[in-house]
């Protein structure tokens, strides 16, 4: 491996670390629904000399960088030194941590890493920080072996789509259903959809009947252009419902689309159908 490649690898590691720091500390605006339960923030101590203080992603450890003032950028070498030092501090604090040693900057991927420590059996591993984790929680393997046992067959596992437990699938199905249910709610509630005359979608479309999502896109004669399902949803909101059309990313619009499509499960897609 050339020195140039090594530099790239090192820079990559550094960037991801810096990104993590930025994410942990930047006061990014949160969606309304999350404001009630704001995530804990890592408040780094302020330096007396006005030096830059870098926080670590564990939410506790921080490091004052001597010679660099708050607001100034670190050079690559300085950043590498800071990250290494922080990591060292963390490892000292957490001697039992099951940490796969990352190749230090300058160590090429091609060189063999230290033999991997075997995962301790489930339930014996205590996390260094954070609360207790219930026994039998998620492991790195996500239960792929259990799937194989459940099915009693010799299937491939260890890749994204091969290692689902029934629990995984239940969670996904529930999440999807939740999305559809939210659509059901909006569809049946004139106020939620922004209507001003107490007309809700279900009043003309029980079970989303006669919404025929499978026929879009199609030329909508009355609009004089090709319409998507969402165009018609918004048309209905504006006209019979007398509300304001929803933005493309509006969660209510997305949820209603989910609900409407869910009601037509099994129907043949036939875009352009009259």
């Amino acid at each position: 491996m050339t020195y140039r490649m090594k530099l790239w690898v090192g820079a990559g590691a550094l960037l991801s670390f810096a990104g993590g720091v930025a994410l942990a500390t930047s006061p990014a605006p949160r969606p309304e629904s999350l404001q009630a339960t704001e995530l804990p923030r890592h408040k780094v101590p302020v330096s007396k000399d006005g030096n830059l203080v870098v926080g670590m992603c564990d939410g506790e450890t921080s490091l004052e960088v001597k010679g660099v003032k708050e607001g100034q950028s670190l050079t690559r070498e300085q950043a590498a030194r800071v990250s290494a030092e922080l990591m060292e501090t963390w490892l000292k604090k957490n001697p039992d941590a099951n940490w796969d040693p990352a190749p230090p900057p300058g160590v090429a991927q091609g060189q063999k890493q230290a033999p991997q420590q075997k995962n301790p059996p489930m339930g014996t591993q205590k996390p260094a920080t954070g609360g207790d984790i219930r026994e039998g929680g998620v492991t790195a393997e996500s239960g792929g072996k259990e799937v194989r046992k459940e099915a009693g067959v010799n299937i491939q596992d260890g890749h994204s789509y091969g290692a689902f437990t029934q629990r995984d699938e239940a969670v996904w199905a529930a999440s999807t259903q939740q999305f559809v249910d939210e659509g059901h709610r909006v569809f049946h509630d004139a106020a939620a959809v922004g209507g001003t005359i107490a007309v809700s979608c279900d009043m003309c479309h029980p079970d989303a009947s006669n919404t025929h999502p499978e026929t879009y896109p199609k030329y909508q004669v009355q609009l004089g252009r090709v319409a998507l399902l969402r165009d018609m949803i918004n048309w209905c909101i504006e006209n019979p419902v007398r509300g304001k059309p929803l933005a493309d990313g509006d969660p209510r619009l997305r949820a209603m689309e989910a609900y409407i499509y869910a009601q037509r499960k099994g129907t043949k897609l036939e875009y352009g159908k009259k």
Partner: protein
């Protein structure tokens, strides 16, 4: 209120009705003369078609003059005006229509669901508007009128929800067919919540409609006094047969009610609730649905009676399309020709002969775009 303004449609239909009424009064010779002239005009305009418009209608008018007619307005689903004037405009249009009928109908049936959520303001507004109907109004109750206070105000305003009367040799029975088994006490629902649930079609929380044992007993005794040869016409908000359970297009004790009607030779059920052109026949009973003035319902995904000719898909871009009112012509036979006065479309008549022949005769025009 409704008399001040006459819509273009109303005027058009008035003129049209006057024209046809004039034609009916012609003697045979004059009829042939007019028919020939119209045919000539039509041919001249290049409009000739296998069913030249006037000839067919006049010929029918000669043969099957009805004994009498009554009109209907149904399923108006009123909110209070400050909240929603859309449905109010619709009922006013319907009142205009029935007031514009010439000759006037013997009476106007109100088919239920006057209010949307059973609120006092809604029911009183509806009562007020219906006062401007010129012909006598016969009231029927729907579930939207009932489940806030279990019919208390409705009874105050309009009297008993089930009753019978005789008119020109026909026995009429009006039912309250929107009773439901108690689903609210156990769930500790407020009256408002109960009403809101019943007002929705696609929820499984409410129970299914029924006439109920008590009312069936009343009906049995009422019918016991009636000669079996007397034509019977039943008004019911729910369809009195089993069409589609998930949406409560359904009457749970329909079979028992039909059994009570079985001994009679000619029975017609006129029902609301389904907001669509809907026709059915079960043995001796013919069924006709009524249009809503507020909005059309889609056809249910299954259970549609075979004899039903679907109305073309309503155009969502038109407030009135798929809605309307109508008229029942009670024939000499005692059966009913049902005219669906679909707003902004040509009216459609579903004839007694169509249902009696099992769809072999007098089929209404077929639909171009059936439901999805």
């Amino acid at each position: 209120m409704g008399n001040k303004f006459r819509s273009i449609e109303t005027k058009h239909y008035e003129e049209r009705d006057a024209f046809f009424e004039g034609l009916k009064r012609l003697d045979r010779r004059a009829f042939l003369r007019v028919a020939g002239m119209s045919a000539g005009i039509v041919a001249g305009m290049g409009l000739r078609s296998p069913q030249s418009f006037q000839l067919v209608n006049v010929a029918e008018a000669q043969g099957t003059k009805p004994r009498f007619s009554f009109a209907y307005i149904s399923d108006t689903h009123l909110y209070e005006q400050k909240l929603n004037d859309r449905f109010i405009r619709s009922i006013l249009k319907a009142v205009d229509d029935v007031n514009g009928l010439d000759p006037q109908p013997d009476f106007v049936l109100f088919g239920g669901d006057l209010a949307q959520l059973g609120q006092a303001g809604e029911l009183k507004l509806g009562a007020q508007i219906l006062k401007s109907v010129k012909a006598p109004v016969r009231m029927m109750v729907g579930e939207h009128d009932w489940f806030l206070d279990m019919g208390e105000l409705w009874r105050d305003l309009f009297g008993a929800p089930n009753y019978s009367f005789d008119h020109k040799g026909v026995h009429f029975v009006v039912l309250n067919s929107i009773h439901e088994k108690d689903f609210w006490t156990e769930r500790k629902l407020t009256p408002k919540e109960r009403m809101q649930i019943v007002a929705g079609l696609d929820n499984g929380i409410q129970s299914r409609f029924e006439v109920g044992g008590e009312q069936r007993e009343w009906m049995k005794q009422d019918l016991a006094k009636v000669d079996k040869k007397t034509p019977v016409i039943v008004f019911s908000h729910s369809p009195l047969y089993k069409y589609y359970r998930p949406w409560n297009f359904w009457t749970d004790d329909a079979d028992e009610v039909q059994a009570l009607l079985k001994p009679f030779e000619r029975v017609t059920v006129i029902h609301g609730h389904t907001h669509q052109l809907l026709s059915n026949r079960i043995n001796n009973i013919q069924f006709h649905g009524m249009l809503s003035t507020a909005w059309p319902w889609p056809y249910a995904p299954e259970g549609l009676p075979q004899l039903t000719v679907q109305m073309n898909r309503p155009d969502p871009f038109s407030q009135f399309d798929g809605c309307g009112d109508g008229r029942m012509d009670v024939l000499e036979s005692g059966l009913v020709d049902k005219l669906y006065n679909l707003w902004e479309r040509n009216p459609i008549t579903v004839r007694a002969s169509y249902l009696a022949s099992g769809g072999k005769q007098d089929a209404p025009p077929r639909t171009k775009l059936p439901s999805y």
